[in-house]
């Protein structure tokens, strides 16, 4: 049914991954930076699915599940950390978090 070359999906995943990276470097707010990580993971997932399709295997899809689980776990811990920060600090801007340096 599909006529779309796998490489297109790959390019899309590359673009999304790149945008995720840009977002990580560009955003200042802890939680949005965290979101950009999620974005990157999604790009990875896309790549996995595309490759699975390309090789006509299921393993790729299995990996997606694992990735999603890990993402969920990270989300739980990450958001907990965010909340903790919010408890102890006023700002959630990473640029204001630099007690530790040099």
């Amino acid at each position: 049914m599909s006529v779309i070359p796998v490489s297109w999906y790959l390019v899309l995943s590359a673009i999304l991954f790149g945008l995720g990276v840009v977002a990580f470097v560009f955003k200042r707010n802890v939680i949005t930076i965290f979101m950009s990580i999620e974005l990157m993971l999604n790009a990875v997932n896309l790549a996995f699915v595309a490759f699975a399709r390309a090789h006509n295997q299921l393993d790729g899809l299995v990996f997606v599940f694992f990735v999603i689980v890990v993402a969920a776990a990270e989300a739980a811990v990450g958001l907990a950390i965010v909340i903790m920060l919010a408890q102890h600090r006023q700002s959630l801007s990473v640029e204001r978090e630099n007690l530790l340096k040099f």
Binding site: E97, N98, L100, F102
Partner: protein, 656 residues
């Protein structure tokens, strides 16, 4: 043959004396110290006497008689035995050294009686005897070098005996270091000797040099290097500067070390190495020139000195010059002969001067003396005899020896008239300043405060050596006397084997003898023998006229010839020149360039600099960790892209 088989006894005696006095003398009474010191030296002298007796019994082929004791150094091909040897030359030196040494020891017991560190003095003195005897008995260059350096050490200790006086300590240091400069040459010379002959034993070297011809360049280099050592030790130009300062030491020391024995070591060494020197004409010429020039040069300085010991010091330098002149012109025997006579009369002069100083209560300036003739007759007479001897007045020891030297310079194997002229001029000056000394000291009116200074004759133990030496200053030269009337110079004949055994074929000392026996030459010889005598007498008369007849003339001349006078008075400013040329630049260089410049500046600069660079770069690198998460992410990103690009680049390189 008790002694000949145990040559070491001669050395052991004074060494033992030195050790005993050095270790226990501090607690002992002077008498004990005396008996140890004088006793050991006297025994040594007796041993030498016995040695001479046994020596005369030796067959010619047993000479030189060598005694090996133990191997001192061995490393690969290089092997040194501690070995002593006896031959005619050694005998002469041994007799002179031990005899004069003994007398001076006796004299010192009186002279030093009231000094602190009495035991120390005698311990040093004995130690000196030990090293000096080692020097003359050595059978190889290294053992000789032991004595050579050892006497230098003792002279350092004895000059600096009154070490509380800065001048004394300085003088001692100066003496040691200056001679060390000469020893540098000597050392290199020894190295070259070994490199050339593969041995440092005298006999081996001489055999080798006689057997197979060595390139003259090498020989000349060797001789000149060795002679450098002699220059240092025997205070010749340009290294004589230490000897006058050495007069800071006690007078007996000046007499023993800086007149009679140590300073003549150079002459002895040259004579000892005669087979080499005889084969290196250029070196011989150098020796002769240095000798002659020194003889004249230092005589000129002697003219104007007022310190009685300084005068004697310069005269010593000058007399040593004569000895080298003798060796230089190939008449080693004459050199050694003068060495011996000089030991007598110069030793005497110093002792007498010491007696004068003793009498004057330490005053050394002749301008503050005068008219002592009557007060200290023995000193006066002995000193006068010595003066006659050194001035070369016929009949006295100095006359014969000096005469032989000048004669050799004129008509010896390698005669040289210019040198002869220098020598004669020196002789004239010598007799002048010596009589000047005598007149200033013993004649005219007293120039000192007679109420404060009570002049008194020295005690027996000081005067007796004077008398003995005086006798030898008269008769010491008479071995050579027959020569004047066509007889044989017994002294020269006695030494002949030493200087002929390995002599190069052409230069037979024998033909000199032959020549001298021929009657027409004898006339000429007599005639020219007159010249030194004449100039000597002239010198005497001038001195008499200047310092007794019209005492104010010298001052007038000093005024009129102020420049020259000052030049002489300040010894040609040589010390100042050396200081300006060598000492100060070297110190400056070492301090500012080497130490602060190279060490602290360059090297440590690099070392600490690199440390500083490291810290600085660390200070920069730590800024990578700016604490800002976004920057960190950027670094990770840079790394990611960087490495991916790198890998892809390599990939592309490989694939395409």
């Amino acid at each position: 043959m008790p002694i000949l088989d145990h040559l070491w006894i001669i050395l052991a005696l004074p060494l033992a004396g030195a050790a005993i006095n050095g270790l226990f003398g501090k607690r002992w009474p002077q008498s004990a110290v005396n008996s140890v010191a004088v006793g050991s030296v006297t025994l040594a002298f007796l041993a030498v006497a016995e040695l001479v007796r046994e020596f005369t019994l030796l067959a010619p082929d047993q000479i030189p008689y060598v005694g090996r004791y133990f191997t001192w150094m061995v490393a690969g091909p290089f092997k040194v035995d501690f070995s002593l040897q006896v031959d005619q030359l050694t005998v002469v030196m041994l007799l002179t050294v031990s005899f004069v040494g003994m007398l001076i020891h006796i004299y010192s017991t009186g002279y030093m009686a009231h000094e602190g560190g009495y035991y120390r003095f005698f311990s040093y003195l004995n130690l000196f005897m030990f090293f000096m005897l080692t020097l003359v008995m050595a059978a190889n260059l290294i053992v000789m070098f032991v004595g050579w350096e050892g006497v230098g050490l003792c002279s350092y200790l004895l000059i600096g005996f009154w070490f509380l006086k800065k001048s004394a300590a300085d003088a001692g240091k100066k003496a040691f270091i200056t001679t060390r400069v000469g020893d540098f040459g000597f050392t290199v010379g020894v190295l070259l000797v070994f490199a050339t002959f593969g041995s440092i034993d005298f006999s081996a070297i001489f055999k080798a040099v006689a057997a197979n011809p060595i390139s003259e360049v090498t020989l000349t280099t060797i001789c000149i290097l060795l002679f450098t050592g002699a220059i240092g030790k025997s205070a010749q130009l340009p290294l004589y500067v230490w000897l006058p300062d050495a007069m800071e030491g006690p007078t007996p020391v000046s007499a023993l070390i800086h007149a009679a024995t140590m300073v003549t070591a150079g002459v002895y060494m040259v004579a000892r190495m005669n087979p080499l020197f005889s084969r290196a004409p250029i070196a011989m010429l150098v020796v002769a020139i240095v000798g002659a020039v020194t003889a004249f040069y230092s005589a000129t300085i002697g003219l104007v000195q007022t310190d009685i010991k300084k005068v004697l010091a310069y005269s010593t330098v000058s007399q040593l010059g004569y000895m080298f002149l003798a060796c230089g012109v190939g008449s080693y025997a004459a050199g050694i002969f003068h060495l011996m006579t000089h030991a007598f009369f110069k030793g005497l002069l110093f002792l007498a001067a010491g007696s004068v100083i003793h009498a004057m209560g330490g005053e050394q300036d002749m301008m503050k003396m005068g008219g002592l003739r009557s007060k200290i007759p023995i000193t006066y007479w002995t000193m006068f005899i010595a003066t006659l001897a050194i001035a070369g007045i016929p009949g006295f020891a100095g006359f014969f020896s000096k005469d032989e030297i000048l004669e050799a310079a004129k008509s010896g194997p390698n005669a040289n008239l210019i040198l002869w002229v220098l020598g004669v001029a020196g002789a004239a000056l010598t007799s002048f300043y010596m009589f000047r000394l005598v007149f200033l000291t013993f004649f005219g009116k007293p120039r000192y405060d007679e109420h404060h200074i009570h002049v008194h004759e020295s005690p027996k133990n000081m005067t007796i050596p004077l008398v003995i030496l005086a006798i030898f200053s008269i008769f010491g030269g008479w071995f050579a006397a027959p020569k004047l009337i066509g007889g044989i110079d017994y002294f020269e004949k006695f030494l002949a084997p030493v200087f002929s055994m390995y002599a190069p074929p052409m230069a037979e000392p024998a033909h000199v003898l032959a020549e001298s026996t021929a009657s027409p030459e004898m006339e000429l010889l007599k005639a020219l023998t007159g010249v030194p005598v004449i100039v000597a007498v002239l010198g005497l008369l001038v001195a008499w006229w200047l310092y007794i007849k019209s005492p104010e003339t010298p001052k007038r001349w000093a005024q009129s010839l102020r420049g020259l006078y000052l030049l002489l008075l300040n010894k040609y400013y040589v010390d100042e020149i050396y200081a300006a040329l060598f000492v100060r630049p070297l110190l400056w260089l070492s301090t500012n360039v080497l130490w602060h410049g190279v060490d602290e500046g360059v090297i440590d600069g690099v070392v600490n600099g690199s440390a500083r660079v490291a810290r600085a770069s660390g200070g920069q690198l730590r800024r990578l960790q700016s604490g800002n998460t976004r920057s960190y992410a950027s670094w990770v990103l840079i790394g990611a892209i960087g490495f991916s690009v790198l890998l892809i680049a390599l990939y592309v390189k490989v694939v395409h």
